[in-house]
Symmetry: D2
């Protein structure tokens, strides 16, 4: 193969265009060339397409990807966990790499805040070689230092992409927050991050998980993932009523831990009232700047809260995610979240399906024909 197709974002809010780029003949030492098997459409891709985040075009979107190895650069013998890598094997990888040496990486052990991070599908232009630095394409180039993970044979690609970056984001967020054994947990939001946070909380020792969101098909999915209660925001429309509903489930006190996976500032004000005094609150859904809300800091002092933020994830979270997905497929059917499949030339439809919230998860399968 000397050239490969890619779906390119050239202008914000305009349709993606299918382009062909030359495939590198021989990869540099440390790099890997991958044939894309499946790429997930993340809600962030919709924000990127709308121009809501500061990126430089043109870009091949897609930061949740599985593929098979076409070519291994010199010196790439093992994946991040020490498994041997060979041509033809199926892998996934972290979309961003931290430097490992800077103030945030080495001094403060906060590698997700490394200033050198750039993410595949977001931070690389595609009009310069090696071009293939995003998931919506037939090929994917992995630069030296990319942290890769060989996928076990008994783990379907659809489970990995169905979980997507939502799962590793949730794993990191819950890790930072800490769920104590038998804590009661509220998840705000029924999107991919909310469902993933539910699965992590459920398996991390929570005694009871209450999920708040919409629409109905997502609440049904939340029940399949083990939610003890769901609160439908289309039915319980007033924040005060939702707060009361949570308290009614928690002996009047509120939950030990509340995980915000919504992204609307008003959810934060509402969610803190769902915490018991001395409880914990995770602000996980605010990757984008969604503006301000009228907030009263008195609630943090008076309720003696702990509030946590969490940004992106580290390689180890992807390692845990893969092993978790493999061993809990019955309990947490992430593969079933992939509801819509598109070929490389249907990338616009895929984006729009995601934007409309019709899909649980839409994906691009480059080998797929209409």
């Amino acid at each position: 193969m000397t050239s490969g197709k890619a779906s390119v974002l050239s202008r914000f809010n305009a349709p993606l265009e299918t382009h062909s780029f030359p495939v590198p003949g021989e990869v540099e030492p440390g790099a890997i060339l991958v044939r894309t098997e499946m790429a997930g459409i993340c809600g962030t891709d919709v924000h990127l397409w709308k121009g809501e985040l500061p990126i430089t075009l043109p870009v091949i979107l897609g930061h949740e990807t599985v593929g098979t190895i076409e070519q291994l650069g010199r010196g790439v013998d093992y994946d991040w966990t020490g498994e041997e890598l060979r041509v033809g094997e199926r892998i996934t990888w972290n979309s961003a790499i931290s430097c490992g040496r800077c103030f945030y990486c080495a001094d403060k052990h906060q590698p997700t805040r490394c200033p050198q991070r750039r993410a595949y599908g977001i931070g690389y232009r595609c009009d310069e070689p090696p071009h293939f630095l995003g998931g919506y394409a037939e090929m994917h180039y992995l630069r030296p230092g990319t942290t890769t993970f060989k996928l076990p044979d008994d783990l379907p690609t659809e489970a990995v992409i169905g979980a997507g970056c939502a799962l590793i984001t949730a794993i990191h967020g819950v890790e930072r927050t800490g769920i104590a054994w038998r804590d009661t947990v509220v998840v705000q939001g029924a999107g991919p991050v909310g469902i993933a946070a539910l699965a992590v909380a459920r398996s991390a020792g929570a005694s009871r998980v209450i999920l708040i969101g919409a629409p109905k098909h997502r609440l049904e999915m939340a029940k399949r993932f083990g939610a003890d209660e769901v609160i439908d925001i289309d039915s319980v429309r007033e924040p005060a009523d939702r707060i009361r509903a949570v308290r009614d489930c928690t002996a009047g006190y509120g939950a030990d831990v509340v995980l915000e996976c919504v992204g609307h500032p008003s959810a934060v004000v509402e969610g803190m009232e769902m915490c018991r005094d001395g409880g914990k609150y995770l602000v996980l859904g605010h990757y984008c700047n969604a503006g301000t809300v009228a907030f009263n800091p008195h609630v943090i002092t008076r309720k003696q809260l702990q509030v946590f933020g969490s940004w992106s994830s580290e390689p180890r979270h992807l390692k845990y995610a893969i092993e978790f997905l493999r061993s809990t497929q019955q309990q947490f059917p992430f593969a079933s979240m992939v509801t819509h499949r598109f070929g490389i030339e249907q990338a616009n439809e895929a984006l729009q399906t995601t934007a409309s919230l019709r899909a649980a998860k839409a994906v691009i399968i480059p080998a797929k024909r209409r």
Copy 2:
């Protein structure tokens, strides 16, 4: 003594009135009768006087008090640390008592959120026996269960009242937040809580403490208490400039820990920007409901912050405070904070001096004559 004078808050915003109440002849088992030596005027007293907190009148204000034991009820042989108590000895005590058995006390180890807490000088009417349940009075009645502390001879009463409830509030807040050895710390606020937080941070391993506030005489005091830098908000009037000033002191990153001791909601928005990514923020100054501010939760996610609230304090914090005050009198001259002294009949002047921010600390000394 069969009757004692007290300064009574009978109507909000109206002058305090001096009343006489009968002194209990014999105290019940577990109780203690104390002759008040000195009572501090706390900023909260000003809020109470203005009717900004929901209390039932009439009340004798004053929740920071030192006195000498007049009468010990049956069964009160020891103070909270196990020191023997005798008539004539000088003690202080926690203004509120937790039940030790409820959900917050025993299950969640958050005794400051015990719903049974009522504070001397705030939560007790004075028109019923035993009347003397606040500090602005010649006598003070300590109900059974009050946690008392015998004061060491080499610790002046003025140091205890100069530190006041600000110190134990700061101790609890810093404990909840955690200052790592050699952390850089910003204190927002130069009031009693800010100065106390500075002293605690300074002695808890901070490598550098930057205090932001006003007016000048308070910043001078901050320097005496060991602030490495002070930023005068009367000179540096723009939040953006203050944020830049903090970053300039911290290699461009922001501080590891920022302690809010102001009570204005806008300070919270400003202060979070003073944290480095992955840093910690304490909302300590918002005991009163001071309204809302336009707040963007994105900052918590993006900067991966930890935000803490802290309410009131536990008996152990008062124990640590007394021992701390005793052993660090040279380094942290809390006694020098007592700048204005009033007799019992001058309680209004004392309150107004505090309200005007003229005093570092105003106190009432019942035995004082004009």
Copy 3:
């Protein structure tokens, strides 16, 4: 009923004797009179019977008990969680009470080390009223301050006694140690504490739990409780081989967390080698003084370990246990651990069955006839 039977330990190593004691006519304020439904035989009871712990005789053994309320003292209206109590209802309780006010209770938040603790079935003589202060008896007197828990209707008594004090001990121990989500865990010991630790670890987020012990019937039970691997010490007889077996299951590194539930000092030396570097080790099985072992502290420095001890449990652990037992009966069949049932006059047989390790759990059912 004016008198009740009890099985009394009057001399160490001698058979228990059945005595009759007068039942209190009216209980004091704060106390409760209970009719014993079932009492568990704990391994500690065997140690007590042999005189291996310093107690004063005569004693009615039994510190794991469920019964129904016969009489409620004045002022006892609610259980520890706030549920209303009524005559005829089924309850359990903590065997020991902490004072809530001492150095360990209130200053250091370590109430299990309160010096005032005395345990039912261990620390009370039975030759003085109210006599009934242990489980091997028809009646049980609960002194004022005892923390009680009303049992939900859908939780069988056998589950509560089958779990016994082993479960709350394990809950506290695992809480102190901390199991991170997806940690690999080794449990040393297949006795009641080992099985309980397995259940807690399993439900607290462990990705993999390896249990080491014997005999075969206990390892079978461990598998029913979800052990991923069991190592039979009757087959793998050399510590070095067991250490190797653990490393083979953990990519060569050792486990993240090792929980010692054995009580032989040599298990500690062996178990620390089963930890990965930087891992955690819980010494949970050493309630009795079982003597010394040749130990090299170099292992703690070199492997950079964290080692934890844990003593007894707090009321909140019993609260969590009851709720856990109720909601996980299918997954963790603690009721099935009750394999041997005895009447009050067969208490010796019950003890010997426990001493011989023949029973998973032996119990006394006072109402049972031969």
Copy 4:
């Protein structure tokens, strides 16, 4: 300079020999060539010389070194904190480098247990280029990846070497253990690590630090470094008496935190008895395998202890150390610990002075003439 002198350990227990090695003409990219200004003699060097640790000879000893830059390899523009590096500047560095990518570095955040670590002065043969990989030499070669720190002008070299690896070891150990504000702390051991642990504890919020050790001149130094009490093991010869002495200083309970900096196994057994129940114990002194001691694990369960190990240190600890040394020179006079100075050809005397415990700290100054 085309050749440089070095003191070489060729045979265990035999005198060091002075050799000349060729100085590299041009260093490889990423490397640095340094002219040694001062090298500390560490107690570990004595163990190495005696052959008590498994190393391959010949070796140039010395892992605590300060020097000036002679030559900067391509790409080495900044030190670890981002300060620009130039020829002629004075620097120090970590003796070992972690890989940043392995299981321990990246997954478990325990980089000191990285299996790729090799330390200057310990783990490199000197009979192959670049030869100069230890401190007892005129030159020192820093391999690519070495984490360097430019020294501030107002920090004397003697303070850095006086503190040596003892200080960074203590910083890491105390960090892992955690000292809460106003904790009481016991330090076991008056050697360099004990004195450093005292300084760290003192500045980390301890209310009271008790140091136990000998001989007298070291206890005097401990007092200069702020010890509140010293216990002379040459006077108080029985462990039981020392335990009693500690309890007498701590209201009968024992200390909140005990830091073992001795290296004799018996110190661990003694030290755990010096902890209060629920207290913390750090095993810091056991870098070498000093054999076993009869140890009873019951103490860990019964006293509900937390025990920590800590191995070596990370680059950030050296960063904190330099800043700490610079800003606390009056309070903690580490420079005064350098009591004996030797030239490169007197390295044997330097080692023997250290072995005999006559010196607080012996150093080699290559430029020194007899």
